[in-house]
Amino acid sequence: MAETYDLPALVRASAGGDQDAWNELVRRYAHLVMTVTRQFRLSPADAQDVSQTVWLRLVEHLTDIREPAALAGWIVSTTRHECLRQRRVAGRTVPVDPINGWQLDKPEAVDIDSRLLEAERHQVLRDGIAELPPDHRELLALLSADPPHSYAEISEILGIPVGSIGPTRGRILGKLRETNAIRTYTEASGGAAPTGGGRHALAELE
């Protein structure tokens, strides 16, 4: 039943020892950790070490998390920090240019920032979608499939009239904007609903 928990409930349940709630946190956020590590071009083994360290750290900090909405930001900054450490460890065995090889040069840093913001936006959307009822999640998934399903196919799969798919899509997107995940995010990134983004990704929890 963990899938129906909202984020604060999942964090509270995990802190209280509920393995299912923890597994659900892993399911929701493992992708965010992976997306961040990928920006640092670590080897697969190093990326795996970073991921495991981040999750072990989160176990340590579960009871300190007062604002669950900031979890994505905490995960991004912790992962990023561990990637920076890991780069230096990798430098022990991989030949590198002593001037440029193991310093984070500025243009790349900017690139990483914008990719992290994008990864966080995607995470926020997945969190928002997780708050929607199953049939709404299903329609969004079908509309997002690659290659895309036609409205006729979707109509057949879900047993709803073709003519209702467009209006239903609009209604579901409206509900998505009203989810806690997306409202918290848009408020935290400047209050103005029309623009996402912002510096929220790098906010610390403590």
């Binding site: 495991q52 999750w55 176990v59 340590e60 230096r88 997945r126 996402g196």
Partner: protein, 162 residues
């Protein structure tokens, strides 16, 4: 009229009040590739440490030479030993990690027992001498932590990948 678009680091922010733009972002968010199973398995297993963390004092990293830009400027090569200091209110542990192993000292200096723990639960225990010095052979790769039992206190360090 459309409100002006804010830009972050030169990248336009998405306009989520527009259905098509929101749907495009939803599609990207849902199509991102799944995480490898072994990474998920390790992440789920991390939870088994929860009870230990709840019981013992946890001490964080105060200093890491790998994150010290000044040490880099001084020309420490990638092969140089890495220094890590874990410090709490009045106790902690300092370690130097090299290819050959870990040398450390308890703070305040004094005798004790130190265990090196890995994420899968294996550990090695050594005795710290009268000034708190101890040595471990090089551990397997992956996250580790130290469980330090001094005469009057016991604490664990936070996890660190070495």
């Amino acid at each position: 009229m459309e409100p002006p678009r804010l830009e972050v680091d030169g990248m336009p922010s998405p306009n989520w009040s527009n259905d098509d733009e929101l749907m495009r972002d939803v599609g990207q968010a849902l199509r991102t590739e799944p995480v490898e199973e072994r990474i998920l398995v390790a992440a789920r297993a991390a939870f088994t440490w929860r009870t230990m963390d709840a019981e013992l004092d946890l001490i964080g990293v105060l200093y890491d030479s790998h994150l010290d830009e000044a040490a880099l400027v001084r020309g420490n090569s990638p092969g140089a030993p890495r220094t890590l200091v874990f410090h709490g209110d009045d106790l902690g542990v300092e370690i130097e990690v090299s290819d050959t192993g870990i040398e450390g000292q308890l703070i305040p200096p004094g005798p004790g027992e130190v265990s090196l723990l890995t994420a899968d639960g294996t550990h090695a225990t050594v005795t710290a001498d009268e000034v708190g010095c101890f040595t471990f052979p090089a551990p397997p790769r992956g996250p580790i932590r130290l469980d330090c039992a001094l005469e009057s206190h016991r604490f664990v360090t936070e996890w660190i990948t070495i």
